[in-house]
């Protein structure tokens, strides 16, 4: 009996390994392999061209470079501001879309529509809306609010990355919103009803009951959004300034620089991005574990 059990469990373990191995192998090879190779390169280790020693020169170089530090600050600003605004508006949208109303299904469809619209398309749309001679500027000219394209406040290629943030907010409201909406719909309104019945006013019911219920969803979605907005390349590449550029853009520029000496620095920047997102993964896992336990 005992031996039978053991062999049964042995068989299970074997079958788990068989199921997992191919996928894990691919991810280890490509993802971890890519990271490792980037890391070695960032340490100036590149045997192919005869660099056999490690050093931290690239890291010294970037962390003493004013341009890099400005990029870092800008990137944090972009990621933090976008995530915050998107989360708040997403929660508001989900609350708005929750109750039954006529046409709810169509509205929900349109709400989730730009989940599937690529960031790149959104970015180009934002560019055509908000550049100096963009659609918004034209409408404002038509309304006699401004006279020339130059009167239009800079919203793309601007120091505050407004266009980039608008694009991220536009794209991520539905992403966080759909998650929050699903939670709201599956919990129903009864918890809030209980709270109201027990003497909570509208705000108290939202603050004490609704918010704690949706918070796990909001937090985990926000972590994903923050990581994405921190590391995305094409949106700041299209809508941002060249100096200071967002970190991923700076890394790309260094990588494709004619000066091959800049490559380890590009790799070092990639490692900084990877490091920060690793911290986020840990936060994500910790948070999800905390919430799952409840």
């Amino acid at each position: 009996m005992n031996r039978f059990r053991l062999s049964e469990r042995g068989a299970e373990r074997l079958s788990i390994s068989v199921l997992l191995a191919p996928a894990v192998a691919v991810i280890v090879l490509l993802f971890l392999g890519g990271l490792a190779s980037g890391f070695l390169r960032s340490l100036n280790y590149f045997p192919l061209i005869g660099l056999n020693d490690f050093n931290f020169d690239a890291y010294f170089a970037i962390f003493t470079d004013n341009g890099f530090l400005q990029s870092l600050v800008l990137t944090f600003h972009i990621a933090f501001t976008s995530t915050l605004i998107a989360s708040i508006l997403a929660v508001a949208s989900a609350l708005l879309l929750r109750p039954a109303f006529r046409g709810k299904r169509i509205v929900h469809f349109f709400f989730s529509l730009n989940l599937t619209i690529p960031h790149l398309v959104g970015a180009i749309g934002v560019l055509y809306l908000f550049q100096n001679s963009g659609l918004v500027s034209r409408i404002m000219t038509g309304l006699d609010i401004i006279q020339r394209p130059a009167d239009f406040p800079a919203m793309v290629f601007d120091p505050w990355a407004i266009g980039i943030i608008i694009q991220y907010v536009w794209k991520e409201i539905p992403f966080i919103g759909v998650i929050v909406l699903a939670i709201l719909l599956s919990v129903g309104e009864d918890y809030e009803s209980v709270a109201r019945s027990l003497g909570a006013n509208r705000w108290q019911a939202f603050r004490q009951v609704t918010l704690p219920l949706i918070m796990p969803g909001v937090v985990s979605a926000s972590v994903i959004v923050f990581a994405f907005t921190f590391g995305a390349f094409e949106i700041p590449y299209l809508l941002g300034r060249t100096f200071p550029a967002a970190l991923p853009v700076l890394a790309y520029q260094s990588y494709t620089d004619v000066d091959l000496a800049a490559r380890p620095q590009a790799m070092a920047m990639a490692m900084v991005i990877a490091f920060i997102s690793t911290l986020l993964i840990m936060a994500y896992m910790k948070l999800s574990r905390v919430y799952i336990r409840e």
């Binding site: 009864d190 918890y191 009803s193 209980v194 709270a195 109201r196 019945s197 027990l198 003497g199 909570a200 006013n201 108290q204 004490q208 009951v209 704690p212 219920l213 409840e294």
Partner: protein, 357 residues
């Protein structure tokens, strides 16, 4: 305490389907336990939510002690609803759940703590403060939900099927607890159930709803003795119906003519109803006919007989002592006591929607 009056209360969720609650008039007495009884989907929860202020009525009014409270917000009504599925806040521990209402009223922490203790004692779950709701059994969660409502000392307590998710044993225990607390505190309580036996056991008065409409509002025993319609009698179960024609205190049926002083119809087509336990087997004389025993079941404390009279089959329940007297196939006299016959209108469609007893 508070008397609750529903007047023409109506809720229409969408125009295509019939009203969930249809023109409901009800006078819920102060300090009493009233049961709201009816099959699933008949509008019980909807009614409770409207009283609690969690759902706006489409039409009609709700009065507490004679004053309309429609414009009063739920948190200020003093009518607390306990939901069908407990709904303890999952991320709060038991103490925070119970203390929730007091926290909303900005009561200080120390007092909340001590009153939570009192409540835990009241529902017989001392020592459960620090648990999370999912560490409690269904019956325990139910009791916490009750404590969470009682701690705010509501004027009106609305219990939505508080016992439906419990097993038979726990249900009995909770019935006793609810009745005890309700009597002690004298809270006007409305209690939803779809179990007629529970309504009868627990309530001072029972309001029966079908499809959002009030069928009968009466003391519990009236639903057995003097139901308003065949449907009501059927819902409470086990009654024999024999169609006939009613005139001058007697009802003429296919199997004979019976004296029947108690009737809802003055004259015309009618239905004789008599409960199985009111049928006397083996007794002749006035109001009796002859029948054949088709089958019988001996059930310990009583025996149940199927009797054929003419083309009609009826059921009779007797004391066990009489069982030996009759065997299947026997021809025996069957007597309907005139005082226990209740004559009803013939079909439900033409019945008055409600009679308040």
């Amino acid at each position: 305490m508070t008397q609750v009056t529903l007047s023409g209360l109506t809720k229409i969720f969408d125009q295509k389907s019939p009203p969930a609650v249809d023109n409901l008039d009800l006078e819920i007495e102060s300090g009493k336990l009233t049961a709201l009884l009816g099959p699933s989907g008949c509008g019980k929860t909807t009614t409770m939510k409207m009283i609690a202020g969690l759902l706006r009525p489409t039409a009609g009014d709700i009065l507490f002690d004679g004053d309309s409270i429609l414009s009063i917000k739920p948190e200020e009504r003093g009518a607390v609803m306990v939901f069908q599925n407990y709904l303890l806040f999952p991320y709060m521990n038991i103490a925070d759940n119970i203390g929730f209402g007091l926290k909303m009223r900005k009561v200080n922490k120390k007092e909340i703590r001590s009153r939570v203790q009192d409540m835990l004692d009241l529902v017989q779950l001392p020592g459960f403060e620090d648990r999370k709701p999912n560490q409690l059994s269904g019956g325990q969660q139910q009791r916490i939900a009750l404590a969470r409502a009682l701690i705010v000392q509501p004027n009106v307590l609305l219990l939505d099927e508080p016992l439906s998710n419990l097993d038979a044993h726990l249900r009995d225990e909770m019935r006793v607890l609810i009745r005890r607390i309700q009597t002690e505190m004298g809270i006007t309580t409305v209690f939803v159930t779809h179990d007629q036996e529970e309504a009868v056991v627990l309530a001072d008065k029972v309001a029966l709803l079908f499809d959002g409409r009030l069928q009968q509002f009466d003391a519990p025993d009236s639903f057995y003795d003097t139901p308003n319609t065949v449907d009501i009698a059927t819902f409470f179960g086990g009654t024999n119906f024999i169609p006939g024609y009613y005139l001058d205190g007697t009802i003429t049926t296919d199997i004979g003519v019976f004296d029947a002083p108690n009737s809802l119809v003055p004259e015309g087509d009618a239905v004789l109803s008599i409960r199985p336990e009111a049928v006397d087997l083996g007794e002749g004389g006035e109001n009796s006919v002859s029948g054949t025993v088709l089958s019988h079941v001996y059930a310990g404390r009583y025996a149940r007989f199927q009797i054929r009279i003419g083309d009609i089959e009826i059921e009779a329940v007797t004391e066990p002592g009489q069982v030996k007297l009759f065997a299947d196939g026997d021809n025996i006299p069957v007597k309907f006591d005139p005082d226990k016959i209740w004559v009803l209108g013939p079909n439900t469609a033409e019945q008055p929607a409600a009679t308040t007893g």
